[in-house]
Amino acid sequence: MILPAGDNVIATQDLVKRYPGADQAALNGLTLQVARGTVFGLLGPNGAGKTTAISTLCTLLRPTAGTATVLGHDVVREADAVRRLIGLVPQDIALYPSLTARENLRYFARMVRVPGRRIEARVSECLELVGLLDCADRRIATFSGGMKRRANLAVGILHQPEVLFLDEPTVGIDAQSRNLILERLAELNRAGMTLLYTTHYMEEAQQLCDEIAIIDAGRIIASGVPAQLVAAADGCENLEDLFLVLTGKQLRD
């Protein structure tokens, strides 16, 4: 294990990911560091490479070139070690719709090696944390969008990972659910969990993130503390202004 300098829990160096048959690289020399205990926002327009970056760091994709480490473990050579230390809240509602919330959490708790005697207690804790304990025995298929998102988050934190990756965890849900999720993420961070998080909601990133990186075409075009970045940019009042200045106003469908 190689511990990154400055206690960075995530470090990438010239990371390149080129999909077969694609004209452009999805990641094109991405270099970033995420310090322990921070909430790091990875922002960018559609197709910028955010999901590819998270997938690579979560061991789902093998980079074409460059290196990436999580908590000092190389994501390719030490994928198993990385998997034990991270949690992922994917963009999809990655749950079994015909199982109840509790059944889903019990199953995933086994998969992330929560000790058998602790499973029931930990499942209840996580359900309570996301406000779903009362409907724990309802099937996921009967949940609203916000409830599903919260259950999706609960699975990601079952084993109290040191680093939690979140890919647009609040997309398409009501204000109440979004507020609850953001509050819980802040709590988890205060408890010492490092969060790497992608979103299209700039005000959310400004509220939650200690540090951000704006990426486009697979490379970082700006990074730093949100407030400092906004202050340094002429005519930008907030992160959204800065984002549009840096990435342009043309559609990216």
Binding site: L60, R62, I86, P90, D92, L95, L99, R110, R139, V155
Partner: protein, 440 residues
């Protein structure tokens, strides 16, 4: 081990929540066994085991039409119906009844049947004595067929008819021969001896009887065309229950492949791949859960053959006396089906692909393996091709136990082939799975 158990439990939970899917998994194969065993039982009977009912319109003014009727019924292949509600059947009514499909055959005996046969027999016998050819007026017998009747069925009836007609033919010729012999002998002697022949002297000749016409000179011995394969041919139930049971078990390919595809589409598989859980645990969890389902299916379908089908008039399914061998074959066939399901699930890109390819490939393997038509009645080329079908291996093993009293040792080759097929499928699927997981 705990991970594997958790995966098995999850799969069973998912299955238990899919009531429609469960209905398909259990009810469909049972219906398949019930319906097809019953249908094929009737077909087996229609092509030889029981008499076929046919209309018999006898317009003959002599007695030979009735005699033919007796001979036809004596073959055991035909049961003749001569009247509807106490009334003789007319030709037109017979033709219409057959055309409507109410009966499949009608045999019509013309009014001059006896007269024509007798005249023809006499002409033939006399011509034989005098070494001369005389023109014959053959008696015509008409058979109306329902146009939808299958060839094999039609052939069976025509054969029975020809047997009856041949018997009648020989009997009439022999009778004419016996009757003409003294007269022709007298005439011949007169011609040869001329004035030296005393017309008062009648030659004493042995009397001929036509009874010998009914005695067979050649005895037909029936033997299986494939005796090395089956010492005794399986009944329709012995053939159909294991055959359609295997078919049903292999249809597990579709829901099993479907779970893998749904997990990919819903994102749960992606999530699982970021967790510290091995590929073997994920894949074998599915295999063992569905293996259990297959074995329950198997048990239910044997119960249908043993207890339900006999209530509907079919023979009882005899399952032999080697329960351990039966279990080994059932487990290995179920493993083969599950392994194939996993492979299809890994290779298919969508549920539609998996369901279409899975279903078609199982139907092809079933056809090749003798599920639909027994291998022993297939053309030789198809019999040779049947060796590539896992369903064929399974069926062979079941028939070995059910029909030939096989045991664990005698079904070992088929069990090994089925387990080998499972291993090939699962290893190949694991390699593809590993490639996904390594993000290739």
């Amino acid at each position: 081990m705990m991970l594997l158990l958790a995966n098995i439990k999850k799969e069973l939970l998912l299955l238990s929540r899919d009531r429609a899917g469960l209905l398909v998994l259990f009810v469909m194969p049972m219906l398949l066994v019930l319906v097809l065993a019953l249908i094929q039982d009737n077909l087996f009977r229609a092509t030889g085991e029981t008499a076929t009912r046919a209309l018999f319109v006898n317009l003959d003014e002599g007695g030979l039409g009735a005699e033919l009727g007796v001979k036809l019924e004596a073959t055991g292949a035909l049961e003749l119906v001569e009247e509807f509600a106490g009334q003789k059947i007319s030709i037109e009514r017979a033709r219409q009844t057959v055309f409507n499909g109410d009966y499949q055959f009608a045999i019509v005996i013309p009014p001059t049947f006896s007269a024509n046969i007798n005249a023809a027999a006499e002409t033939t016998a006399r011509g034989a004595f005098r070494e001369e050819q005389s023109p014959l007026t053959a008696s015509q017998l008409t058979v109306f067929f329902d146009p939808t009747v299958r060839g094999v069925y039609r052939t069976a009836v025509v054969n029975a008819l020809q047997r009856g007609v041949l018997g009648l033919d020989i009997a009439r010729k022999s009778e004419a021969f016996g009757r003409l012999l003294p007269e022709e002998l007298q005439r011949s002697m007169n011609e040869q001896m001329g004035p030296f022949w005393s017309g008062g002297m009648q030659p004493k000749l042995p009397q001929l009887s036509a009874d010998w016409t009914g005695q067979a000179l050649i005895e037909l011995h029936e033997e299986s065309a494939y005796p090395e394969k089956y010492a005794t041919l399986p009944t329709s139930v012995q053939q159909n229950v294991p055959a359609w049971t295997l078919f049903g078990m292999f249809f597990i390919v579709i829901p099993l492949a479907g779970t893998l595809i749904r997990e990919r589409q819903e994102g749960t598989l992606t999530r699982l791949m970021t967790m510290p859980v091995g590929n073997a645990s994920l894949l074998l969890g599915k295999v063992f859960a569905y293996l259990l389902i297959c074995l329950v299916q198997f048990g239910l379908m044997l119960a249908v053959g043993k207890f339900v089908l006999p209530l509907l008039g079919t023979p009882v399914l005899e399952i032999g006396s080697a329960p351990l061998a039966l279990l080994a074959v059932a487990i290995s066939a179920a493993l083969a089906a599950c392994g194939y399901g996993i492979l299809v699930g890994v290779l298919a890109r969508s549920y539609d692909q998996a369901s279409t390819f899975g279903a078609v490939s199982v139907v092809i393997a079933a056809a090749l393996g003798g599920v639909m038509v027994p291998v022993y009645v297939m053309p030789r080329v198809m019999q040779e091709l049947s060796v590539i079908s896992p369903l064929g291996w399974g069926l062979d093993a079941f028939l070995e136990i059910f029909v030939r009293g096989g045991n664990l040792v005698s079904v070992l080759p088929q069990v090994a082939a089925l387990v080998g097929f499972f291993l090939v499928c699962i290893v190949f699927a694991s390699l593809v799975f590993r490639r996904w997981r390594r993000g290739a």
